[in-house]
Amino acid sequence: MRDSVFFLGKGGVGKTTLSSALALALARHGKRVLVASLDPAHNLGDSLKVKLDGEPKNVEKNLDALEVNLAWWVDKYLEESREQLKLNYSYNMTLNLDSFFGILKYSPGTEEYAVLWAIEDIHSRLAPSYDFVVFDTPPTALSLRFLSMPTISGLWVAELTKLRERILKDRQTIVRLDPDSPVAKGTVDKSDDKVYGKLGSIRTRLAALEVLFSKHSFMNIVVNPDQLSMYEALRIKDELERLGIPLSALCLNKHGVSEAAYELPAELHHLPKFTYSFSRDGIFTRDDLVSIGIEPLMNHILSERKTTR
């Protein structure tokens, strides 16, 4: 069932505002909702007027919110790997590799993976208690990287699995020909090989995330009435198409904020469009958030969900 909602777009277009507004509207409509910020520079709590952390906090009836702590996820993950490494490796080897872990948190891809681990945790541990999970995402670059990660990593893992199978097959042949070979002391069966097992579990997890993004989510692009955010929306559309992730709606936020001319790209015309006028009085309370007119988008999501159930 489609129960996750993502808002994507250029930095500052209003993803947090629309995420909070939709979550509030759904909650006041009687749905149990969790709104989660994946942005390392959180402001979901500021928007909802509640101090948030990594665990769900009740905002009002039917609505919980959390701000994912990416640094905590990276540290947790590295610590678990380090402990496993100490458990499996001989002392001397561990001593050489241990110092290595200190710098791994800064290696490319780690932050994107931390977002994936957080989404996986929310989806498996928390989502069953809610009707909807609304994700407020980081700006485009990081969002596209974490959305593409399951597909790209999946390709790598598939190739590594094939190579591992070939290694295990060679080991089996050697042991069959020469049962006294040193190879016999190691693992020769797929069922005993921890590397093969780990590759399998990584593949399963990545496939589940791929399905979540492509089949169980509403992906909404947020744009402002300016050409730059439109160009970025096009890039998001192209990238998501490449990944096989369908778009659900286009949200034109801050309509009327300027008189500058802009043009909605033809490639985005087919998407259901929802417009939100710029609020000159500002948005200060949760009631202000609901009053921006989010109901049409909410109804669109509710009706789409019914048809895909």
Binding site: L104, G109, S153, L160, S181, K194
Partner: protein, 93 residues
């Protein structure tokens, strides 16, 4: 005396069988080590500038790859003379 002769014969046959088995698996063993080396290089190559999967995948697999790392280090030692190793294995002088 016959018992001792039988024992010697048995040991000799066992040794000969083992030598033949070793020869039969030698090339396969070489291929296996190369594959294990390539597997490790593919996973950990990112740390040395080679194309590789995102490093978090390497971190997940690393705790189970001690043997492969030892092969990688041993292979690196032989990297100076790979042809020599191959010729030696094929018994070409």
């Amino acid at each position: 005396m016959p018992l001792q002769f039988g024992h010697i014969l048995k040991t000799t046959l066992k040794t000969l069988t083992q030598v033949n088995r070793g020869k039969a698996t030698g090339i396969l063993d070489f291929e296996l080590k190369e594959l294990e080396n390539i597997f490790t290089l593919l996973i950990l190559g990112g740390f040395a500038g080679l194309p590789s999967p995102p490093s978090p995948i390497a971190i997940e697999l690393l705790p189970y790859m001690e043997k492969e790392l030892i092969v990688l280090i041993a292979r690196a030692d032989l990297a100076q003379d790979p042809l020599g190793v191959l010729m030696g294995m094929l018994e070409i002088d």
